[in-house]
Each structure stands twice: as structure tokens, then as C-alpha cells.
């Protein structure tokens, strides 16, 4: 019922944010803060790993959209790794699949040029 957030620097100035748990109205502020910190520090190429996210609601989607809007102002990008079919379905239904790059694993996401 909680969310664990881990951040690590990767090659090419990309920062990977590993999320583990459930993102809802209670836990999403923690994710929002982590993304906000990175962006405040000038990191605009983010790769958010949702592989270990078992649940996401519209508040969580809002945090991802908010992050995307901020990095785009600096020519950055938010790429997502998402394999859970239920969560992919939410990105499909909401059309967010069209505004995020969604990948099956970290390698594919790193290969995709910004």
C-alpha cells in the first residue's frame, strides 16, 4: 500500500526513477517530490520504471503528466518502463500512451533517442 522511490544516474544524463509499490492519492506526493527534486536540479531526461508498480490511479497519472510538462519546457523527456498489463491498459484508455514513450525494459528505453 506504500511506494518506494529510488533514483539513480544513468549514461547520457538520464536519471532513472525506480518505483516499487502502489501510487495513489496518499502515496503520489512522494513520487511528485522525487520528480520535482530531480527537475529542480536540472535533470530533464527522466526514465521512470513502473515495472514494480502494482497499482496506479489518476493522481499518479497526474504526477507523471506534471513531470512531463515541466521537463518539456527544457526540451527534456519522460520515458516509462511498464510491463504490467493492467497498468498499460490505463495508459491506453486515457490516451497517455501517445504522450509518453512506453517501453518494455530499461534497455529499450535507454536506446530510444530523445
Amino acid at each position: 500500500m506504500d511506494i518506494k522511490v529510488t533514483v539513480r544516474a544513468e549514461r547520457g544524463g538520464t536519471y532513472v526513477v525506480d518505483l516499487n509499490g502502489e501510487i495513489d492519492v496518499y502515496t503520489s506526493p512522494k513520487v511528485k517530490d522525487a520528480l520535482g527534486d530531480l527537475i529542480d536540479k536540472g535533470h530533464y531526461n527522466l526514465l521512470i520504471n513502473l515495472e514494480k508498480v502494482r497499482y496506479i490511479d489518476s493522481t499518479g497519472l497526474g504526477v507523471l503528466i506534471g513531470g512531463l510538462k515541466r521537463v518539456r519546457e527544457h526540451g527534456g523527456s519522460v520515458r516509462l518502463i511498464c510491463t504490467n498489463p493492467q497498468i498499460r491498459k490505463i495508459f491506453d484508455i486515457t490516451g497517455l500512451v501517445k504522450i509518453f514513450g512506453i517501453y518494455d525494459d530499461e534497455e529499450a528505453a535507454m536506446r530510444a533517442l530523445v
Binding site: D24, V25, Y26, D57, T59, K69, Q86, I90, T94, G95
Partner: protein, 141 residues
């Protein structure tokens, strides 16, 4: 033999949580447990779970003055009816509407998701006694 009482035919599970973000997880897990007793598929259970969570989140974020959310699950013929009710100030019926999906902005996806994930969705809005949402999901066969 005595006639079956209404309570024998209509199983109802009622839950009340404080209108606070931290308790939404309790609501969605309880409703998921109800749905799995009713033979919903894993995918359908996830749908009901998210719809209920979105409804609770809206009560918390928009129902001014609400301190409690009531969630009532009822076995319906071939599926499940869930009512989510807050005791806040309510809103205008026209306000219950998500943004267009094409628009990229934060927020405005909750009601859209509820309508996408459930089979029927009805909002009953009362400025005096809060918002009452009734939604149903059919067990897919």
C-alpha cells in the same frame, strides 16, 4: 419452511472510512475482496478497484466539508453494484465531468476512468447531502 429474508438474497457489504487520502487503500482492498468472492476475473477486479478508488479520491478532493465516505457493495444479478457516497456539500451535476482526454493537463481523469471501467455509472448530486455515485460491473462470462 420460512421464506428467505431479503438479507438472504441480497448480500451487502458496507464500509465507512474517514474522508482522508490514507484510507482509500482500505476501501479499494475491501472492494477487491468483495469482487473476488463474486467470481470476477483478475482484470475486472482491478477495474472495480480503480473505479472505487477514483470515486473516493474525488470525495476527498472535491466534497467540501465531507468527513466520511460510505462504500456499499451489493451482489447484483450477474455482477456487483457499488455505491460511493460522501457527506460533503455536493456540487452541480454539470461539474461531474472529466477534461477531454486529448488535453494534456494534470488532473481531470477520475470520472473518465470510472465511466470507462464500469458498465453503468450514475451520479446523484445533492447540494445538501453530498454526492452519491452508483456504479455496476457485470461479471464477464
Amino acid at each position: 419452511m420460512p421464506l428467505p429474508q431479503p438479507s438472504d438474497t441480497t448480500d451487502t457489504v458496507e464500509l465507512r472510512i474517514p474522508s482522508k487520502a490514507e484510507w482509500v487503500a482500505v476501501a479499494r482492498l475491501a472492494v477487491a475482496a468483495v469482487a473476488s468472492r463474486l467470481d470476477f476475473s483478475i482484470e475486472d477486479i482491478e477495474d472495480v478497484k480503480l473505479a472505487v478508488a477514483e470515486a473516493c479520491t474525488n470525495c476527498i478532493q472535491h466534497a467540501a466539508g465531507s468527513d466520511q465516505i460510505e462504500i456499499v457493495c451489493e451482489r447484483a444479478p450477474g455482477g456487483l453494484t457499488v455505491r460511493v457516497r460522501d457527506n460533503g456539500r455536493g456540487t452541480r451535476p454539470e461539474a461531474i465531468q472529466s477534461r477531454r482526454v486529448e488535453e494534456t493537463r494534470v488532473g481531470g481523469l477520475g470520472v473518465f476512468l470510472i465511466r470507462s471501467l464500469m458498465d453503468t455509472v450514475e451520479y446523484d448530486v445533492h447540494p445538501d447531502c453530498g454526492t452519491n455515485l452508483v456504479m455496476t460491473k457485470k461479471v464477464s462470462s
